[in-house]
């Protein structure tokens, strides 16, 4: 009798809570692929990535009442993923490996792939880079230093805005922009390294034997342009 009364007393609350939980699950699972891909870039290990996603979603579920409706749920989920990674996984993985990627000029690939004879390449699908498979591109992203890697992944693969990435990674928007700026330049170098490693760059559309051509675009200004985004 007492138990029944207690059950009755909490019923309306439980009904609402149950609806919230169902909504959480529906909404969160829509982002499962994106969360997993990002976790995989963070941990670089499928089984750790699965554990990380699971832990992050359980935490998010636990804190769901703190989520403010109307704000960005996706950015909030990625923020919990990032925090869970920092708190539990990064320590386990030890010091991040230092990246061996050199910094490069902007538009590195465009400059590499454009011909000497003023020939312009306007679509990457017309170049040897089109032969790069998904795993080669992922390996290239994995070579970026960790903070660049996550930022580039969230922007270039998952399509988050600067503001969303700032929230997800806990940094200012300006930091997101500078990480993207440097991360993307390094990614171009890493993609080139992947193409070279696969032996694609001996193809006819690429000039790997000739001397470096620092400025191959018509006005030279584009290739030399340096500095951060505005």
């Amino acid at each position: 009798m007492n138990a029944e009364a207690a059950d009755k007393a909490t019923k309306p609350d439980q009904g609402e809570a149950a609806a919230n939980r169902a909504r959480f699950e529906d909404e969160a699972l829509k982002h499962l692929d994106a969360l997993y891909r990002t976790a995989l870039r963070m941990t670089r290990n499928p089984s750790d990535a699965e554990d990380l996603v699971q832990d992050a979603l359980v935490r998010a579920f636990r804190f769901y009442d703190r989520f403010e409706p109307g704000t960005n749920f996706r950015a909030w989920l990625f923020k919990i993923l990032t925090n869970t990674y920092i708190n539990s996984y990064r320590r386990k993985q030890g010091r991040p490996q230092e990246s061996s990627l050199e910094d490069t000029e902007e538009f590195f690939l465009y400059n590499q792939l454009s011909g000497d004879e003023g020939e312009r390449v306007t679509d990457v699908e017309d170049t040897v880079l089109d032969q790069l498979g998904a795993d080669a591109i992922r390996r290239a992203i994995d070579q970026l230093p960790p903070q660049f890697r996550t930022t580039v992944q969230l922007s270039d693969v998952e399509g988050l805005s600067y503001a969303e990435i700032a929230e997800a990674t806990g940094v200012a928007k300006g930091t997101v922009m500078s990480r993207l700026f440097r991360g993307r330049r390094q990614l171009q170098r890493a993609l080139w390294d992947q193409a070279k490693a696969a032996g694609f760059t001996s193809g006819s559309k690429v000039h790997v034997d000739g001397p470096a051509r620092p400025d191959s675009d018509t006005n030279g200004v584009v290739a030399r342009a340096r500095g951060g985004t505005r």
């Binding site: 007492n2 699950e25 699972l29 996603v53 306007t122 679509d123 591109i137 805005s161 584009v222 500095g227």
Partner: protein, 91 residues
């Protein structure tokens, strides 16, 4: 109109759709007028597409969805047990 240097700097935020409407107009005007920058823009855009499309082919393994659903259900039970007042057995 902005010059090539400014255009090159604006190219990534432009591709990211993070420029103000006013700056978008400036970049478009420059790209309409400058073949060199237009080629770079087209190349960079196609590179972004290549990276995005190929990387998005990868998804979570099928069993992860199930695993997550199960662990959320378990978490729900834990929460409910905590919330429920201790039951008094009447006799």
């Amino acid at each position: 109109m902005i010059n090539c240097r400014d255009c090159a700097r604006a190219l990534n935020p432009y591709l990211d759709r993070e420029l103000s409407d006013e700056d978008v107009v400036q970049v478009r005007m420059h790209l309409d007028a400058c073949g060199g920058c237009l080629h770079v823009y087209q190349f960079e855009e196609s590179l972004r597409r290549l990276v995005r499309v190929r990387c998005q082919q990868e998804g979570a393994p099928v069993w992860l969805r199930e695993r997550v659903t199960v662990s959320l259900a378990m978490e729900r039970i834990r929460q409910e047990q905590r919330r429920r007042p201790p039951q008094i057995r009447g006799d």
